[in-house]
């Protein structure tokens, strides 16, 4: 199968798609020499992220083996992972304003 996505680090819970993937389409993600295949449950645009496994609400999102944010809701495998279901954990002046 031709790869259309990449998982950068073995610990990552998301893959980055390298072509537009339609809802129901296969995400064929390379992780070094391994290939992980899953179905996209919604359209994933070029360059965007897809969950490679189920991610629970508040769980950390991992890319490059590092934390890039946290899930604001449960995210199923194959779902689009982006601003609609992930928040940043840094530069959050809004949270500090709330604490005051």
């Amino acid at each position: 199968m031709i790869r259309n996505a990449i998982i950068i680090d073995a610990g990552d819970n998301i893959a980055t798609v390298l072509r537009d993937v339609a809802a129901g389409g296969d995400v064929v993600a390379g992780l070094g020499d391994e290939t992980v295949v899953l179905a996209a449950v919604e359209p994933i645009p070029f360059g965007h992220k897809v969950a490679v496994r189920a991610i629970a609400k508040d769980e950390e999102i991992l890319k490059y083996g590092a934390v890039i944010g946290a899930a604001t809701q449960d995210i199923a495998q194959g779902m689009h992972v982006h601003v609609q279901n992930v928040v940043s954990l840094r530069g959050r002046g809004d949270l500090e304003a709330g604490e005051k």
Binding site: A66, V67, V83, S88
Partner: protein, 386 residues
Amino acid sequence: MSFLGYRRANGQVGTRNYVGVLATVACANEVALGIANQVRGTMAFTHQQGCCQTPPDLERVTRTLSGLGCNPNLAAVILVSLGCEGTDVEAVAEAIKATGKPVEILPIQQSGGLANTLAKGTLIAQKLVMDASRIEREPCDDSDLVVGLKCGSSDTTSGLAPNPALGLAVERLTEAGGTAVMGEVTEFIGAEHILAAQAKDEATGRRILDLVERMENRAKAVGVDMRGGQPTPGNIKGGLTTIEEKSLGAIAKAGRAVVQDVYEYGERPRVKGLVVMDSPGREPELLTGMAAAGCNVIVFTTGRGAPQGFPFVPVLKVTGNRNTWETLVDHMDLSVHEVVDGSESMPAAAARLYDAILGVAGGVTTKAEVSGYFKAMDIYVTGPVI
């Protein structure tokens, strides 16, 4: 020898040979532009600062203008002053003079206004350009390069191909004795622990963490989530979700090179190798800071396609996005999108990028230079206009 450059009196090497016409305050921009428009071989630097600002900002403006004037890509400098500004114009002139290059100050209020200053400045600029034209390029080495690292209008391809390719090029450059300047401290947020671990010692790593904390506190002081500002709406459309994700891709530009030192905005590095300079991510201020730090080439990676260059420092545009490469033909200089496709290896792309840097250093023009796409420039300020 790796490229032909202009070796200056102080030993620094220029990749270009312009006469700089620098406005020392926003009020002098018109005259600086007027002189530069009249005389081929000059480049104007204009900005919106230099008066009615807090002392730390005025000090930064003075330091930045000094650094710009000292940049080895300028053979000589004309400082166009209004005559009543907050910038320490004498200090700027003294700093530039110390490099051994000619400096002239033109105060508009003492020179009889626009028309008279323009006439006087035009004649001075003509002479300086003719003098500069006698300087010839000579053989220079990789160690004479001071390369600024910048990424902008990023998408997720930035962190997959052009930034890691640039990282490999930086490793090669610094091993060869060259210098690389990494700015964009906002884009360390979430990845600072990785960069700090690459510092030459714990104290240097601590200074990187301190810079990031200072920048994050500035953003947080506004009391909102900075998303939308960083990452930008364009970054988000390109698939970048959070500043942490953007940062992790951005710091790949440093490769695994050792961070030798940490500097304030616009300060010239006193050591060779990879250094970090305080600066925001926005192009006008970042590119100015790099030029003030003495960079003689800037490499600018982009996903969605950032067009900006800088008047007297060549800015090489590298993309990893095939669509951007195919559609933005008059802005992109190099593409490494085949790394994303899997049809080119990362080391091969990095080698092409390194060759392109040496080519530009030796005089190959960049798209931004050819098109004159370098008018957005400014000096970084952190305080209010008062």
